[in-house]
């Protein structure tokens, strides 16, 4: 597809626009860091986990929170482009959905790798000491990246569905809460029984457990594969959905 040849230009555009939207940038960077401080210092004393320090238990959860929320911002960016004259200009230049959306997803991946780095930096400052070797670190980054790409692609589809950037931002709110009913911040056993099924089997859980296992040098079993399968599934569904939605929006 010749259209995808311009994909790096589209990614650079989206990245530049995000960096100039100061409020959005600050929120994606500060919110996860604030949440981590909140959990570690305010709730941490009251939460019992297997990990020696609560910060060690909580960091993977914060990383997923940060990644999924940051990735969901893609919905707002896509909805914004779709609501403006620029989409007509792009289409009249033969730049359609694949180039636009892959640009958004790529920019989201790069942006969120940046915010994840910031979370790690703050975590180290407040006493996070993982025992992972280089392969485990690479695995961690790989699983996080797969998760970010999947959620970004899903968000792009939601951005096509939303009629306005405001409506799309409602979705980011939903995604922000998705990691809570999982083992992100408290062990699942401490939750009410009816929540166990969802909390153990929702997509964020295998990702969090994989990241936690890899960073703390614990056996992870088949969890990485479950996590990657979820990501691949979400990505495939999102791409198919985006194709349909883009055609419907631009009729």
């Amino acid at each position: 597809m010749s259209e995808l040849a311009v994909w790096p230009v589209m990614a650079a555009r989206t990245l530049r626009l995000t960096f100039r939207n100061l409020e959005a940038l600050l929120i994606t960077l500060l919110l996860p860091v604030m949440l981590m401080l909140l959990f570690v210092y305010l709730f941490g004393g009251a939460i019992e986990t297997d990990a020696p320090e609560y910060v060690t238990y909580a960091v993977p959860g914060v990383l997923i929170l940060c990644a999924s929320y940051g990735a969901s911002m893609t919905a707002v960016g896509v909805a914004d482009d779709m609501s403006k004259g620029i989409i007509d200009r792009f289409r009249s230049m033969d730049i359609g959905g694949p180039a636009l959306l892959s640009g958004h997803v790529t920019a989201s991946a790069l942006r969120n790798l940046g915010s994840i780095t910031a979370v790690f930096a703050v975590a180290f400052l407040i006493g996070f000491r993982p025992s992972a070797g280089l392969p485990a670190w690479l695995g961690t980054v790989g699983v996080l990246l797969a998760f970010i790409v999947a959620i970004s692609a899903l968000s792009a589809a939601v951005g096509l569905l939303a009629r306005s950037p405001e409506a799309a931002s409602g979705f980011t709110f939903f995604v922000l809460f998705l990691p809570y009913p999982s083992s992100a911040f408290v062990p699942v056993d401490t939750m009410p029984d009816w929540l166990h099924g969802f909390a153990r089997n929702q997509p964020a859980t295998p990702v969090i457990e994989t990241v936690r296992g890899l960073l703390l040098d614990q056996p992870v079993g088949t969890r990485p594969w479950t996590a990657l399968a979820w990501c691949a599934g979400i990505l495939a569904v999102s791409v198919a959905l985006s194709g349909i939605l883009f055609r419907r929006r631009t009729r």
Binding site: V9, M10, R13, G85, I86, T250
Partner: protein, 326 residues
């Protein structure tokens, strides 16, 4: 190839649900000419442009642009055209220069060529000084110029401009007109839509009047004006009694009546003899007519005559004056 019109559309139809927007529109634009699609809001101007620029497929009818079919050879059409819509298609958070360089890169120009092309266009559109400022800080006129410049990065041979001057102040509008005239002089084919008769008259080689999804008239400005007599005689009666007498004497010839102002309008060839004869005929006592003016037919008159309603811009003005109580 050169004989073929740059735009050649026949029988374009389009409905959205139960609403019919186009009811069989034909448009032919000769290569290198400027064509204006003139009509009120909701006439179907934007839909026509969207079909011709491949963004929306027609329900029926065919269209070829730059020699290619807009549905079956969409990709080749897109390589030859550029569309500047009603809503600015530039990124507010990028500077003017960044926007144009990005467009160059999207047109697959190498980095250095994209930079040079951006500089050239910024200079030409009088934006060189504002090149480093974010578009969010630009005035309406600057934004519109940048938008048009962004559409020219790929050196299109057919340019679609959807209401290029709507909402601009008179000075920016004139600047925009100069730009369009300049492009036409270079041989670019331009199809523009407008609500302003003056704009169509000024810029276009040919004009089509679009009303409720149909082309009601087409031709040069001069041809359209000649479809109704060249001049109009506007009379003012001396008093209400005289007004009634004059109106009776004119009968069906009067195409404009305004009892409140005691005014009547009659189409005429405009020669002194003709006007003198007419006045003698309807006002033998030489007391009923208090005053008169002879005016050249405007496109407004044509619009009124052909669609049975006042021209869109004129209507907009009267609506505004009603709203402000003038």
């Amino acid at each position: 190839m050169t004989d073929e019109p740059a735009v050649d559309a026949t029988g374009l139809r389009k409905s959205y649900g139960a609403v019919t927007v186009l009811e069989g529109v034909d448009v032919q634009v000769a290569e290198g000419s400027v064509f204006a699609l003139l009509g009120p809001n909701g006439a179907g101007k934007t839909t026509t442009v969207r079909i011709l620029s491949t963004l929306t497929p027609p329900d029926a009818g065919t269209a070829r642009v730059a020699g290619f079919d807009v549905v079956r050879q969409r990709r080749r059409v897109r390589r030859a055209i550029s569309l500047t819509g009603q809503h600015a298609a530039v990124d507010e958070l990028q500077t003017g220069e960044e926007n144009l360089r990005m467009m160059g890169r999207l047109h697959r120009l190498p980095r250095a060529r994209a930079r040079a092309r951006a500089a050239e266009l910024l200079e030409r559109f009088d934006l060189a000084e504002a090149r480093g400022r974010r578009v969010a800080t630009y005035s309406g006129g600057m934004r519109r110029r940048l938008d048009l410049a962004a559409g020219l990065v790929g050196t299109p041979s057919v340019l679609f401009l959807d209401e290029p001057t709507t909402g601009l102040d008179p000075r920016s509008r004139r600047a925009m007109w100069d730009v369009v005239t300049g492009l036409a002089d270079e041989g670019v084919t331009v199809l523009l839509t407008t609500q302003y008769l003056e704009e169509a008259d000024r810029l276009a080689d040919r004009i089509a009047l679009l009303d409720a999804g149909r082309i009601v008239a087409e031709g040069t400005a001069a041809q359209l004006k000649s479809r109704i007599p060249g001049h109009r005689l506007d009379l003012t009666a001396a008093d209400p009694g005289a007004y009634d007498d004059l109106r009776r004497a004119l009968g069906a010839r009067a195409d404009h009546h305004d009892p409140a102002r005691l005014a009547l309008g009659v189409a005429t060839g405009g020669s002194a003899a003709e006007i003198r004869a007419l006045l003698d005929e309807i006002d033998p006592g030489r007391s009923a007519v208090r005053g008169f003016t002879v005016n050249e037919t405007t496109l407004d008159d044509v619009f009124l005559a052909l669609t049975g309603q006042a021209a869109p811009a004129a209507r907009a003005t009267s609506r505004e004056s009603e709203a402000t109580g003038v």
